[in-house]
């Protein structure tokens, strides 16, 4: 419409939880009252959670941001003539000028916040489906070659070289192959999968299609955790848009390639983020671990060769096809190539999504981007990589974020979740929580995890209560050994990581627990 002013209000879980829907409604109704013609566009989030709800107004072709907005601010914004970019105490200026965003390497998240996530037009006007188009003109070997050259490793947490996984599935014999996307994102403090699926869903769709081209799969499944209802809504709309515009289905855009995607919802189980439990759940069975070998790449979903990849892994693919694997590999260090979408959470001043090339240090992430703790107190511990990740003390914050550098310190990068704790944290309680989490989320199949986690809680309780403390510390260490070496999967196998790191770096909390009476 002529002279209609574009106003962007994010439709994304964290923004909506902070009132973005009500703010959008209020803006619309006040605009109607003022007889001002506005077009409300529900974009994704830019990932600067501390500024949400962050709204933007398009003024002379530029987008001016205001945030964080609450419902009471809306009337004021109209008074300040925000629709013409008027000054207001919450005016932020251009989003792209904000250092938090400016200093990132947004490879995967380049369109998040920028576009209307379910608009095919927006997607295609911003490089969308270019990667797929390039891939349709390549041999399967060439596509896989680009992925190998990029050095892309699984972003779900295991860090397995994506090119090798695709090669294995491409080489496997089978009358049917599948692409299975793991969107279970159960790690504490993580939200990158969610933000990508809510902010740029077609990017994931395109990545899955390219994977299908590479390995010979014509069907994809996405396993989305049940705790993401808005993501389900938005992604379902995107799937329908893609189908209507002929980007999914038979003979896509006349290429002869066929691809369909099913969105499957989980049922509240962390362990279904483990690939074999996820496959069991996709098949309609209980989420129980399958032993490996055979690898899902050979015998996966319904027994067929299956690529199982995380959301961010797949969403990184389209640009690798457009810009080339060599380009992706110019980012990062050593064997950690490309970028990772780190998620800053916990006791942090400026929490949010920070996509950066590997090699940045934990300190730079937490202090330069994150601004330190939200409470202003000293940082005491940081858990990286989810609930199965080690806790690092302050003196390890200069470690560069790199898969192998972290492994050397008995830590993990995992899916990139960084949860910050200040000096009020009780690390014995955190160690207990690690066992408790395992005890709740265990699939129950193997003994070290099913029974070991329960005993772990009880033994830590005795240590903290000073009941035969030394013997129980020794027993805890042996239990950790049994779980690490005996468990069927990483649920039990890695629960000892945070426990051991707590004992190693914060032994005082076990001897003189902050809350204990002795």
């Amino acid at each position: 419409m002529a002279n209609s002013i574009n106003v962007f209000v994010p439709r994304e879980t964290s923004a909506v939880s902070l009132g973005a829907n009500e703010i959008g409604d209020r803006i619309l109704s006040l605009a109607v009252n003022n007889k001002t013609d506005i077009t409300l566009i529900r974009n994704g989030s830019w990932g600067m959670c501390w500024l949400e709800p962050l709204i933007e107004v398009e003024v002379n072709g530029e987008r001016i941001a205001y945030g964080p907005i609450c419902i009471e601010d809306v009337a004021d914004l109209f008074k300040a003539d925000f629709l013409k970019g008027g000054d207001h105490k919450l005016k932020l200026g251009k989003v792209s000028d904000i250092p938090y965003l400016k200093n990132q390497d947004r490879w995967t998240f380049k369109r998040c916040g920028l576009i209307d996530p379910v608009s095919i037009h927006d997607y295609c006007s911003n490089g969308g489906f270019d990667g797929f188009t390039v891939a349709t003109k390549m041999s399967t070997a060439k596509i896989i070659e680009e992925i190998k050259k990029s050095g892309l490793r699984g972003r779900g947490g295991a860090g397995f070289p994506t090119g090798i996984k695709w090669q294995t599935v491409a080489n496997a014999s089978g009358d049917q192959k599948y692409i299975a996307c793991n969107a279970d994102e159960g790690d504490s403090g993580t939200f990158s999968d969610r933000m990508l699926m809510e902010g740029d869903p077609f990017c994931l769709i395109e990545g899955m299609m390219i994977a299908g081209l590479a390995v010979g799969a014509n069907r994809g499944y996405i396993y989305l955790r049940s705790e993401y209802p808005l993501t389900r809504e938005i992604f379902s709309e995107a799937l329908n848009s893609a189908k209507d515009a002929g980007w999914l289905g038979k003979n896509i855009q006349g290429t002869g390639f066929e691809f369909e995607i099913d969105l499957h919802i989980g049922a509240g189980s962390y362990v279904c983020g483990e690939e074999t439990a996820m496959l069991e759940s996709l098949e309609g069975k209980a989420g129980i671990i399958r032993y490996r070998p055979p690898l899902p790449a050979i015998e996966g979903l319904f027994g067929k060769p299956t690529v199982v990849n995380n959301v961010i892994t797949l969403a990184s693919v389209p640009d690798i096809l457009i810009k080339g694997g060599d380009n992706y590999a110019t980012f990062g260090i050593d064997r950690s190539r490309g970028t990772l979408a780190f998620q800053l959470a916990g006791n942090i001043k400026r929490g949010g999504l920070v996509e950066k090339a590997f090699g940045i240090t934990l300190r730079e992430l937490i202090e330069d981007f994150g601004g330190g703790t939200a409470t202003g107190r000293d940082i005491r511990a940081v858990q990286i990589g989810g609930p199965l990740g080690a806790y690092f003390p302050e003196n390890l914050l200069d470690t560069p974020l790199d898969y192998e550098a972290f492994a050397e310190l008995e830590g993990i990068i995992g899916h990139g979740g960084v949860v910050v704790f200040d000096d009020s944290v009780d690390m014995a309680a955190q160690a207990r929580f690690a066992m408790e989490f395992c005890a709740i989320e265990s699939c129950g199949k193997c003994t070290p995890c099913r029974i070991g986690s329960v005993r772990g809680i009880e033994v830590i309780d005795r240590i903290v209560a000073n009941k035969n403390r030394d013997e129980n510390l020794k027993l805890l260490e042996e239990l950790c050994d049994t779980m690490v070496d005996g468990s069927l999967c990483a649920m039990g196998g890695m629960t000892p990581f945070p426990v051991r790191s707590a004992i190693k770096h914060f032994p005082e909390d076990f001897i003189h627990p902050p809350g204990a009476k002795n």
Binding site: S442, C443, G444, R455, S487, L488
Partner: protein, 241 residues
């Protein structure tokens, strides 16, 4: 007859079902053994007279890999793979005994013992008890923690009963009902420590789809599922001494 043809004995439980395939030769504890392709390391080890302790494996059922007792060391492979779910490969070098393995097996059995009625340990004669002896452990250091001792016995069926206190959740009964009998009456209900054997929709056995074939009773290694005829005066758990 088929066992004879395959060079296997009828009176030995090889842990996993036999297979037909090209011969594969590997070494177990220095002993060379040849088995068909598709055999598990557990079967090969048993054939070589170097049997690995086990609980959830039995050769009338497909491998499951849940008890974590049968772990071995394989040269060139990281960690401690389960011998029941690992297939043989030509030239594989397997070790079934080591200090590390002994410690691991004791660690696993100790966890089982922490949720098994103590009074039932001394005079037991089930496969579970034999495995405890084989591994050399009969007690645990975990005190009185969470357990399943208060779950009621299901003696609805005239021929056998189910005592959940002695269940080690190895799923052999569930798998027997599915793979051997094909009735699929049993399942593991719940998750994590709450996992328990349930008949149909968690009903008494007699009211469920169970057809009293006894495959689960035959499969159970801990006498949680056991024939009533073994207890002429009625079933009672052993008194604590």
């Amino acid at each position: 007859m088929w066992n004879e043809v395959r060079g296997l004995r009828d009176d030995v439980d090889y842990g996993t079902p036999p297979s037909n395939g090209e011969p594969v030769t590997l070494t177990v504890d220095g002993v060379e053994v040849t088995v068909p392709e598709g055999s598990s390391v557990m079967l090969a080890a048993t054939k070589a007279d170097r049997a690995v302790p086990k609980l959830c494996a039995t050769d009338m059922l497909e491998a499951f890999g849940s008890c974590r007792v049968c772990l071995v060391e394989i040269e060139g492979q990281r960690g401690y793979p389960a011998s029941c779910t690992t297939l043989v490969a030509p030239g594989m070098i397997v070790r079934t005994q080591s200090d590390r393995l002994a410690k691991l097996r004791k660690g696993v059995m100790e966890l089982y013992l922490s949720d098994f009625p103590e009074s039932e340990i001394p005079d037991g004669w089930s496969e579970f008890h034999r495995t405890l002896e084989e591994i050399g452990i009969n007690g645990h250091r975990y005190g009185n923690g969470r357990n399943h001792f208060d779950l009621p016995v299901d003696d609805s069926n005239p021929y056998f009963l189910f005592d959940p206190a002695k269940c080690i959740v190895c799923s052999r009964c569930v798998r027997a009902c599915a793979e051997v009998q094909g009735t699929f009456a049993l399942t593991i209900q719940g998750r994590a420590f709450e996992s328990k054997v349930a008949a149909s929709q968690d009903e008494p056995f007699m009211e469920s789809e169970c057809v009293s074939c006894g495959a689960c009773v035959q499969a159970c290694p801990s006498h949680a599922l056991v024939e009533k005829s073994l207890f002429p005066g009625g079933y009672e758990r052993a008194e604590p001494t």
